[in-house]
Structures are given as C-alpha cells and as structure tokens.
Symmetry: C2
Subunit: 125 residues, 2 copies
C-alpha cells in the first residue's frame, strides 16, 4: 500500500496544496497528507469538517447519477472564499480530495487528481 | 432586464457550451439559453433535471457554509461523463450555471461565469 506516495506526488506538484486525502464515502480518511507550508493559514479552516461534508455531497451525487442521464459523476469541486477543493472518484467506495488555498493552481490540481485516481484505485483493489 | 445578453456573452465565448441559465434556489430558471449547435448530443441528457438537482446541492452548501469555517461558497462544479457543469453564486437567491460538453473549454467557462455573475447581480438588484 503506497497511498502516501501518490498523495505526495499530488501535493508536491500543485502549488497552494494544503491537504490531500483518500477518503471513504463513510467520511473516514484512509490516508491524509497536510503539507506544513502555510499551516497557519489553514489551521483556522477546520478542513476535516468541510471535507466530510463535501464527501457527503459527492456520495449523494453518486447515488442520484443513476436517475439523472448525465452519466457517472467523476469530479466535484467546491470553491469557497478561503479554500478550493477538488474531489475525484477513485472507485465506488472511495474518493480523493485536494484542498488548495484560493491562489493555488486549480488547473494543475484537477490534472494531478486525474492522474492519481487510477493509481489509487489499483492500491485499493 | 438584460439577462439574455449576459448569458449570450458566456455561451458565445466558451467552446462546447450547451446551456447557460440564471436560476433561483427554488429550482426555477429566470432565463435559459441553449445554443442550437450540437443539440443532438444534448437532447438525451435531460439537462433541466440535472441542473435542478445540482442547484439543490449548491443551496445545501450555501446553508452549511455558515457552520463550516471555509467561507461562503462561490462556485460549485459537477463533472460527469457526459456533461461538465459550473455554477457560480450571483446573490443569496440566485446562481448562474453553465453546462459544457466534456471536451468544452472548462477554464474559460469558469472565467466567463466569474465575469458574468456581478453583472447578473446588478440586473437582479
């Protein structure tokens, strides 16, 4: 199991990363990486609560995708004043989430998760 | 009221646009623009149902933002196999949503909504 290396590859390549996590739809993180840099900006965010809430929403969308005709949901992004979050489905039970500061590299973040998701899926198989 | 012009500016500048709408959090669209191009790809999507569902989720996030410490939600994006959707808050009661084909210009779409939202807010004031 090399979850950590895959998460390190994500946060190492995306400027402004503050947390990267593989989470189950039960809201429990399998592995979380929180780069130290700019930690003081992040401490006040209570990221864990936000990620659990957003994960809930992704789970909800996963279920409604069956009734909608727009196909399976692959990615969800919730961008607030203080933090950008990008979530990508890994498999039916897990997703990967990256939290960025508002001036972080959002496009690179989406790309890094797209690359990481299938690798994480193989680890979880 | 010049909602339509603002929506036309969005779909005219973003490749792959299939619908752009100003909607209330009650799920009712104030104005919708559906460019004819590639309409056959889109007819099967039942976009209206998806947009109402996604709007619900944005409304839910708007309400939980008060308990989370990540600040007000400005943007939500739900990307599925067949359609990318970007939503941006206009004011407390309305949001603007852009639906794109999967190969549409996502970055340009986010930019166009960021520019359009304050203009739409002025129309709604």
């Amino acid at each position: 199991m090399a979850f950590k290396e895959h998460l390190e590859a994500v946060v190492g390549s995306v400027d402004g990363s503050v947390a990267c996590s593989v989470m189950g739809f039960d809201g429990i993180a399998v592995e979380t990486l929180q780069p130290d840099a700019r930690a003081e900006d992040v401490a006040a965010l209570d990221l864990q609560a936000a990620l659990v809430e957003y994960g809930n929403i992704l789970g909800q969308l996963k279920n409604t995708a069956q009734t909608l005709k727009t196909g399976a949901v692959a990615e969800l992004s919730v961008n607030s004043e203080k933090v950008l979050t990008i979530m990508r489905m890994v498999n039916n039970d897990y997703f990967v989430v990256l939290a960025l500061l508002p001036d972080g590299n959002y496009g690179k973040g989406r790309y890094a998760l797209r690359i990481a998701a299938p690798k994480l899926a193989r680890e979880l198989a």
